[in-house]
């Protein structure tokens, strides 16, 4: 059934912008799909479900489109005005060689479930799904397990040139490009323009503490600064930006040296604890808060500063949810004196199954999905920020997502979390140790303990 061998390889039309790398031709995007019933509802095309059942079976598929190469695509659920399923259908109707059946995984809020389902499918090494999407922290793990196809032959130096530097680095494992960026997100600083007064937007943590304390004293805000300290992945995201903002690191560039008990790292974690127990600009509750619990007091007008992802901005501007409409600004996260602002890189990437039996078709699909035009479409219709820096300058983006365009400088400084195939184990140790350090106070001891455990994990 596979026609991969004789499929025309000439990367003829890639992306709805008809092969051009200029994303300016968005008019070419077929919009016939918007007439689909319940468009934008997150409801997936029913046919997709049937095809999924067949694809999962790995058995004979329905005879429709028999002249097309059938591939499967598994991704976490994202939606905005449109759904991922609709974008996949755009690809299907844009060409006649490949047909993609889409397998929708749970939403990224159930990220561990997405991870689990992907791992279970990939571990069978039977080529299904042919293409998948992955959180930035799984890339090294999937590559290390040999599940992700190296894409260097297809996407050479171009990738590192066109994409944000942090993303390019995160997609590389063992010197090979094993993932292709889809959309980007990163941690950033939200501030209340009305509480800033005469002060300028803080660039260092020291400045932030001063402004936050002043806002608390004057009664303008109950809380100075909110962040996320729940014993979960988000704690590591916060941790990375504090540590890198002080010039420290968790792992050395070799991925084996653990730098967790270096002076700069310890100082950064001491600072995190100090926001709770010393300067008291953060309530102790941050130790159990993840994204949403920390977001609510901020949009409720109770806090001066918040660290969070880009999703907060739209909510802060929605009068139904927010009491601070028009009073919120966004900036790169502060750094420590002598350090550099750094934000924790988030977002999802494409990957091609190393066991795929339809390599050519899969690559064609990934080319289309990662093209500038498709990225622009994801940005305007699903609100997913492009990973290609150039797409941020598109007039269409400025028109429909003006806020997203202003984030470009934030994304430029996004830093990946430690890149190691053992990341999943490393992060569990980090979460436990840093939570302990923050709750109980013995930072140096907790980090040294974690250092030893992580060294055993990455060293072996």
């Amino acid at each position: 059934m596979s026609k991969s061998d004789d499929m025309p390889r000439g990367a003829a039309e890639r992306g709805p912008g008809a092969g051009s790398d200029s994303p300016g031709k968005m008019e070419a995007v077929p919009h016939d799909l918007t007439s689909r019933p319940r468009a934008g509802s997150g409801r997936r095309a029913f046919l997709g479900g049937v095809a999924l059942g067949a694809a999962a079976l790995g058995a004979a598929r329905p005879a429709r489109a028999a002249d097309r190469t059938e591939i499967s695509f598994a991704s976490a659920k994202f939606f905005g005005k449109e759904t991922v399923a609709q974008v996949v259908e755009m690809y299907n109707s844009s060409q006649g060689r490949v047909h993609v059946s889409y397998d929708e995984l749970p939403p990224p809020s159930d990220s561990t479930a997405v991870h689990q389902l992907l791992v279970q499918q990939l571990a069978r090494r039977n080529g299904s799904p042919d293409v998948f999407t992955q959180d930035v922290i799984w890339i090294a793990e999937f590559a290390g397990a040999g599940w992700a196809l190296a894409l260097d032959d297809e996407f050479g130096a171009e990738v590192r040139k066109d994409y944000f530097p942090g993303v390019g680095a995160a997609c590389t494992w063992g010197g090979k490009l094993t993932a292709l960026p889809w959309f980007i997100d990163s941690g950033m600083l939200y501030y209340r323009t009305d509480l800033l007064g005469a002060a300028k937007v803080p660039e260092t943590w020291e400045e932030l503490v001063k402004i936050a304390e002043a806002a608390q004293k004057s009664g303008g805000a109950r809380f100075g600064f909110l962040w996320q300290g729940k014993q979960a992945e988000v704690l590591v995201c916060d941790l990375v930006s504090f540590i890198t903002g002080n010039g420290g690191a968790i792992l050395g560039p070799d991925g084996k040296t653990v730098l967790l008990d270096e002076e700069k790292t310890v100082a950064a974690v001491e600072f995190m604890r100090d926001t709770i127990t010393g300067t008291k600009i953060s309530p102790q509750d941050v130790l159990s808060w993840d994204e949403e619990p920390s977001r609510r007091p901020f949009t409720g007008g109770q806090a001066a500063f918040l660290r969070n992802w880009s999703y907060v901005y739209t909510i802060a501007q929605d009068p139904k949810v927010s009491s601070v409409v028009g009073k919120v600004g966004v900036a790169p996260l502060p750094h420590f004196a002598g350090g550099q602002s750094s934000a924790c890189l988030g977002g999802y990437q494409y990957g091609v199954n190393a066991s795929t039996k339809k390599r050519e078709a899969a690559l064609d699909f990934v080319h289309w999905m990662s093209s500038p035009a498709t990225q622009l479409h994801f940005a305007t219709e699903l609100g997913l920020a492009p990973t290609r820096a150039a797409v941020f300058d598109e007039p269409a983006l400025a028109k429909s997502q003006p806020f997203m365009q202003t984030l470009k400088p934030v994304f430029v400084g996004a830093t990946p979390r430690p890149v190691t195939p053992k990341y999943a184990q490393v992060t569990l140790v980090l979460q436990s140790a840093v939570s302990r350090a923050l709750a109980e106070g013995n930072v140096k001891q907790a980090l040294s303990g974690a250092k030893e455990r992580i060294a055993t994990i990455v060293g072996s």
Binding site: D285, Q302, R436
Partner: protein
């Protein structure tokens, strides 16, 4: 002795059930009636459970592609793993406290709701609300209600002047597990109350009446008639509750993620993280098997008690 009141005039003292069976030939194979159940349980549970046991003897780790038979190595690692024992203790504490609280509160509710009073139907329906609400909602809802800053519980306690400042329910290692117990008790007490209520309702009124004529007060009637008759179903309900509480996952995962400082890490969350975050399938399966073994021990204790109480009742 029969508890079936609805049998009308047929309430007589039943001869011990198995005396009959021992003396007479069974002329139909009861195993045939068990067959559908055997198929159902076998197809869904036997394969994964045996697979898990087998996997726990390997060092299967997807990230490193290791997959060797290592015998008891995982169990030896487990016995020396402080994280495991800490989670094991948290889980047992949680199970004991929440099962006990649910049994006592559930029994109280059932005793109240078995009596007739105006509006009883409404109260019975209201009692079931916590259990009928979707779990995905209640776990998030408890995050809200017990939020340390804007939570309704702190607000009410402050309004009633029971506390001076806010309590940081989930953010402090001292209170986090206790708060999760409260959430679990709220959510699952109706399960106990419902089963106990059904049990209470089948106690013949004539027995209570007889106790009353003998001059027993309500308190004595409870201890002498109701509780002994209720014991088997009480133990069965408590056993299922304990087995379920031991596998607590959602509440912990949503509310605290196991923190702060691992103070709420239970076996399910530890196993889940090991299996599906760290992808250590071998060691994760050993953890799962250890859970299974602990649960089997709990079930065995209950099983013995249940068998005793049934035997006592049949006498």
């Amino acid at each position: 002795m029969s508890r079936v009141a609805a049998a009308g005039g047929a309430i007589t003292r039943a001869p011990p059930a198995f005396a009959i069976i021992r003396t007479r030939r069974i002329d139909w194979p009861p195993l045939l009636l068990l067959l559908p159940t055997a198929i159902s349980l076998g197809s869904v549970c036997v394969y994964p459970i045996l697979g898990g046991l087998w996997l726990s003897l390997h060092n299967t780790m997807l990230a490193t592609r290791e997959n060797r038979f290592v015998g008891w190595l995982n169990y030896r690692t487990l016995a020396a793993d402080p994280d495991f024992w800490s989670a094991w203790r948290h889980t047992l504490e949680f199970t004991a406290v929440s099962t006990l609280a649910e049994t006592v509160i559930g029994l109280g509710m059932a005793l109240l709701l078995v009596e007739w009073f105006h509006g009883r139907g409404l109260v019975r329906a209201a009692m079931l609300i916590p259990w009928a609400m979707p779990t995905v909602v209640t776990s998030k809802m408890f995050g809200w209600l017990f939020d340390g800053q804007n939570g309704l519980v702190n607000w009410m306690l402050r309004s009633l002047h029971l506390i001076g400042g806010n309590i940081d329910w989930y953010g402090s290692p001292n209170t986090a597990l206790g708060t999760i117990v409260i959430a679990d008790v709220w959510k699952t007490t109706p399960f106990m109350a419902l089963l106990l209520l059904a049990g209470l309702q089948t106690i013949p009124g004539s027995l209570l009446e007889a106790a009353r004529i003998d001059g027993a007060g309500a308190w004595q009637a409870f201890w002498r008639v109701r509780l002994p008759m209720l014991t088997p179903i009480l133990l069965i309900a408590a056993m299922f509750r304990a087995l379920d509480a031991f596998r607590i996952f959602d509440l912990v995962y949503v509310l605290t993620g196991g923190g702060p400082a691992d103070s709420t890490e239970v076996l399910s969350t530890l196993t889940y993280k090991t299996l599906f975050s760290a992808l250590e399938f071998g060691y994760g399966s050993a953890l799962a098997t250890a859970m299974f073994a602990t649960e089997a021990a709990i079930a065995l204790c209950f099983g013995i008690l249940i068998a005793q109480s049934l035997r006592r009742q049949e006498r």
